[in-house]
Symmetry: D2
Subunit: 279 residues, 4 copies
């Protein structure tokens, strides 16, 4: 037998950082995962741990580097973290940081945004993944996961393949509800926060405006628009469940459903993925 | 042996209703629970089901009445539902509807709010509970559950009791993070949507402005302000976990934590409740 | 305005205790909630915390008393905890402990039960709730929450009320799937572990044997048998969702469903409650 | 721009199948995901859905084939499903089925296993993944996900790397708690149920017996034993979080912790992966 693949790390290291600029406070809340790959086989084979960075040390490092360094985005913090592990460990071939940021927004007040009080801005968490290798390659991606959206019209699904087990009728006006899981690579220098805001704005804009013939088509349109807007984005991955709203059959109850009353369902769901790249 | 208490009903009946006012669509997404109490003992004792409204019928009734009636709030729909079961079943002593509404908000566009596309507005669901009795009493309450807020300052906790197991130091400047679970009774006629918006505005305003000496004190201030603003509210119940952000001890790492770096925790949590009533 | 009701405490204090009896180890894993009621109004009104046991102290107390005292059941530990808070605080009128115990079972080995290795025994957690008052009253209850069971026959539902919104047909042979939430009061001295094992055995036995005409009838039969078996039990509360398995309509697919193929659903669900007491 | 990758399918198709062999009933409860890859680009680009098997049809197919075919394991059912989609659609390059089986076990009775009543057997779900390609390749794997185990001794962690951020002390006797996520490929014909039972027995046996110097070492020992026992297994993947039990510091409370009282934690967690293959 042999060890053909291995990695290890620390998950759910949860950090809250407050930066006080006078009365105005900035808030960062990250949930961090660190994964290291490299030469750790003696640990698997004999329990010789001398090459292991303890996962407890990884946790400490998250808090120490969060204190030591200034950063303004999860992408920057992921770069700081992964570069630290690579720089200090020649036997580590790659370090990966996956960060999910809670989307805190300032409370609105009569005098504008609150200086130190926040609420959750909407559904979904902001994500950033960074991989740094011993050879010095740094791959950074951003994204949003869990963004819930719904449109009540401008969505249909007709002309699909029919076989002996097909019962779904063609429908020209249905509800389109989904939870967007989007990520994109960065291929050039950028303000990560500006790119994030632009990417989310663009995907929401297209979701609302698109006259959808299939979830697939909307996915492509969203990704295409995101790439067209921001030259720093290399490719966009979009995974979207089709969270069906099923028209409730009111006829046995003596009523007619005028495309108004639906059963909200979580499962089963369609699940559609597309990766849209530059030529 | 005897049956000393019983009730039954249907949970998680999930309804999406679209109201089309020309191109402008209104969206209601409710998760409904119906609970009936009354004389059902023969079913428990002998399996004689003749007095039972099947829970499947309760489900159908949710969809049928959602189609039949116009309503603009979960409170109104809860009243419609409970009155239906009471009016049609003399042996039912009370009918309870618990509704959780998903907080969909229109997408923002360059031309204002989108006519038919929505996203989740923030954390938390709107709630409405209605109990109607055979004698004609109708009790209606509203609320919000799961509203996540955080402030980075203006919160302290000092002067509490100390015993042999107390290790917590006095702290004058801590993070205050919580997930508000608020509900209130209605004691007079009102526009339920306006009352809801006002109640949430008020609790957010006080949360942000209050100079908190204890979670308990902030709870009282929030409830007091909500009652002061809206005469339709009878009493306010507030339950708030204290979702601790623990200062990370950086000293073993050769650094000093200037009240900036915290461990985000979900458990254990303090849990504080207060009911604030009118005199 | 006035404070008409209040309580506070600490939730999700998670304790693992290992008792080493030579090579044989006992394992207790509890998730504890402590709730105190009493005279704490100054804290709500003025932020004067002098009457407050800090929730952090409650947490410490859980770990300290788990170390100080020997116990063999969550009921005993709940009594130890609540008596401590009552004995040390005259202004506390009642202390409540809610404990959920993870059901660890010893691994089976060729030589019998393992001395120090465990796995989860099945679905559900064991529960114990204790309330102790300043006057010296101690109320103890036990239970199991989340126990998943299913039977493929010996369950029907016929003869229920029909109205304009009823579409459910009478069915004489259906799947009965549920997640039992059971609790019982203790009215006399007992070995809590023996009573727990007996109560769970009895409810499983009746679930399997009962020829069910309604979930309600099965609930009554289960509670009746539990009380009949163990004189230490005062009353039994049973809450059971009806987690429907819906026959899939195969006819449009050119097949006939011989009561064999079902859609597994989580929602909506029926929800049935009965409290069975001694005469 | 271009579509560089795509797939789609249906998730959480939940099936309950009852096979009646006289009074003895067999129960299968599967949660199925179907993912198809192939030539669907016209749908993404123009909304031409003519090449699409509707995800609703995939759902119907799960129920129809569950009725049409006899099977005794999720692996067999995954093969039936994927071969169906490949055989009927030349433009589909690969079909993937991911099945999670709820682990129902017969109730114990005085007369042996119950004929038709079941409860959950323990933590974790059985998994089976099958990929079938248009060229006729069939890859089948089995596994268990979410299997919770804990040992109170025979686990240590010493001699790991130390740097400026390391504070973890060497420990020779700690609690080892984890939730095993195991999967294995099948490289030869086998009775999938016997292989599954054997693989789970073996990993539990090694977990209990191993004198662990690191989670990594235990993972390797588990995988090695699983491969040694069953020649039908090609390689084993094991991912195991280290769900820490942190000794509670009782010294400020005037007590000494004799390796007995621990804080149960869910996060942060170590996360260790190893793939063990045959030479």
């Amino acid at each position: 037998m042999r060890l053909s693949s291995d990695w290890y790390g620390k998950g759910n290291v949860r950090l809250t950082k407050v930066v006080r600029r006078g009365a105005l406070h900035d808030l960062y809340e990250f949930c961090v995962k660190i994964i290291l790959s490299g030469e750790f086989s003696s640990c698997y084979h004999t329990g010789d741990n001398s090459s292991l960075v303890a996962t407890d040390t990884m946790k400490n490092t998250v808090y120490a580097l969060a204190d030591k360094h200034e950063f303004h985005s999860p992408e920057q913090f992921g770069q700081i973290l992964t570069k630290h592990f690579i720089a200090n460990n020649k036997h580590i071939s790659s370090a990966r940081a996956e960060i999910a940021e809670t989307r805190w927004a300032r409370l609105a007040t009569a005098n504008g945004p609150h200086e130190h009080a926040f609420q959750i801005a909407g559904s979904g968490v902001r994500t950033a993944h960074v991989v740094t290798t011993q050879e010095g390659r740094v791959e950074t991606s951003g994204g949003i996961s869990g963004l819930q959206v719904l449109k009540t019209t401008k969505s249909g699904f007709v002309g699909f393949q029919r076989d002996e087990y097909t019962t779904l009728p063609d429908v020209t006006d249905r509800i389109f509800a989904t939870t967007v899981d989007a990520s994109w690579t960065y291929i050039g220098p950028t303000d990560y926060n500006a790119s994030y805001v632009g990417a989310v704005e663009e995907l929401l804009r297209v979701f609302g405006e698109h006259d959808s013939l299939a979830v697939q088509q909307t996915i492509y349109a969203m990704g295409e628009a995101m790439l067209a807007r921001d030259p720093a984005l290399g490719e966009v991955k979009l995974t979207m469940p089709n969270q069906h709203r099923i028209p409730f059959n009111l006829e046995p109850l003596g009523r007619k459903n005028s495309n108004s009353i639906f059963v909200t369902t979580s499962e089963p769901f369609g699940l559609i993925h597309g990766t849209i790249s530059r030529d």
